[in-house]
Amino acid sequence: MSDRYTAAEMMTVTASRALSNGSTCFVGIGLPSEAANLARLTHAPEVVLIYESGTLQTKPDVLPLSIGDGELCETALTTVSVPEMFRYWLQGGHVDVGFLGTAQIDRYCNLNTTLIGDYREPKVRLPGGGGAPEIATNAREVFITVKHSTRTFVEAVDFVTTVGFGRDGTARDGVPNIGRGPTRVITDLCVMKPDAETKDLVVISLHPGVTREQVREATGWEIRFAEVLESTPEPDDNELTILRELKARTDRHHAGGQAADQTDRGSKA
C-alpha cells in the first residue's frame, strides 16, 4: 500500500470510477454515497444521483448523514414523494445502477442488513432492508462497496435481506422484469465480479500492494481469483484532493450543523 493514500481512499476512488458519466444511480447512504459524489465531482459531472428520500438529481456539497438531509433536497433538481420515488422512478425502470453497502455478503452477493443470528432470537439486530431489496432487483445493475473482512464476507449470510443471486446462484433465472443484479463488488483490498455462469464472486483486480493471501484471509469462503488478475489503478492526485476536501467539508458541516437558536435547547423537543 502507498503512503500517498489509505486503503479506504483506494476503495472509495475505485468505487467512484465504476460509475460512468451520465448514468442514473440510486445511492445508498455511507460508502456508496461517498463514492457516488466523488464520481460526480471528478470524472462523471453528469451522473444523476437519486436518494430514496425522493431527491432526484441531487448535488450535495457535503455528504449527507441521513438519507433525508435537507442538503439533498436543497441541491436536487426536484423532490418527489417516497411512493413516487419507488414506484415511478425505481420500479418504472429509470435507474441504471443501484449502489449499495451491506453488513454481510456471501459468494452469491446476497446481502444481509437485518440481523446476526436467528430472526426470532437475534444476536445482533441490524437496521433492516430499507430501500435495498427493491433497488437490487429493479435497477439495471448493482454495485456493492464494503470493507473486506471475514465478519462481512461470510460463507452464508444469516438472512437474505436483499438478493444477489440467491443461495445457489439461480434466484434471477427466469424472473421477468428483473435487473442483472450485482456486477461488481469493490472493497479496500480488491475488485470482484460474479462469474458469468455460476455467479459466485471472482477477484478480478487486486489493489496495489495487496496479496492474494490477504484477500483469502479476509474472506469467509474459498474465494476464486481470475486467471488474469489485474492491478487496480491507483487514485490520482486530483481524486485524492477532491475526496479529502469533500470529507473535511462534511465533517465541519455535521460538527457545526446546529442552528444557534437551538444550542440552548439541549435535548428538549
Binding site: 425522493g54 448523514l65 411512493p83 430499507g130 435495498a132 432487483t137 429493479n138 437474505v160 434471477r172 446546529q258
Partner: protein, 272 residues
Amino acid sequence: MAEFLSLHDAVARYVEDGATLAMEGFTHLIPFAAGHEVIRQRKRDLTLIRMTPDLLYDQMIGAGCAKRLIFSWGGNPGVGSLHRLRDAVEKGYPYPVEIFEHSHAAMACAFEAGAAGLPLAVLRGYVGSDLPKVNSQIKFIECPFSGERLAAVPSIRPDVGIVHAQRADRRGNVLVEGIVGVQKEVVLAAGRSIVTVEEVVDDLAAGPNACVIPAWAIDAISVTKHGAYPSYAHGYYPRDNAFYKAWDAIARDRDAFDVWLQDNVFTQGDDT
C-alpha cells in the same frame, strides 16, 4: 374539517390505547412533539407504524407505548442502532414488541394504497428476499393479465395518522415543503389525522402544484413550534445532528434513558 386544538387535547381525543398509529416524516418533519405527548399521556398497546422508526419510536417504545411495530428501516441514521427498539425486540424490555418488517418500497406502496382506499398494494418486490418468510403480511399474487408474480402487502389504514408540516392557514389548510415523504398519504389513509405545524399564516403562498393538504381532509391541527426537533423543518430549522449522535449513549442505558425521559418529556408539555 380541521379543528385547531392544543396538542394535549388532540392526542387525548384521538389516540386511544390499543390504536394503530402512523407518525410519518421521512427523516424530515418527524412529529417528535406529538410523540412526546403520546408518551406523557401514557398511551399503551399501540401498533406503531413508520418506515423509519427513528429516535421518535425508539423513545415511544422505550417509554412502553408499543406492543407492535411495522417498519422498514430501524436504525439511527448515520449513527447506528436504535437501542430502545433493540432492547424491546431482543430482551422484551420494557415490554416485548412484535415486529412486522418490510422494505421501503412495500411500505410506501402500502401507504399509497391506504390513501387510495384499497385493501392491498401490489409491487414488483421482495424477489429472493427472506423477509416474506418472517413477515406474514407479505404474500405473492399472480397478475391476472400477464401472469407475472408480484408481491402484495396489506394497505396501511391506521386508526390515527400524525404528521408535522411547516404551516397552516387560518382555515386549517396545510402546506408541506421539502422532502414530503408519505405525509399526504398518511393523512388520507388514516381514520383520524392530527397535523402539527410550525406556525399559522394568513396566506400559505403555495404554488399550483405544491403539496397542500386541505382542511377538510384533516381532523385536528396543533400549532407546535419546533414540533419536529431534533429532526428538521425545511425553511425553519436544521436537523440537530449532534443530538442524533448523543442519543446513542442515552438510549444504550436503561437508566440514562429514564432520566432523559423524565427531564425532557414528562416534565414538559402544555400542562406543566
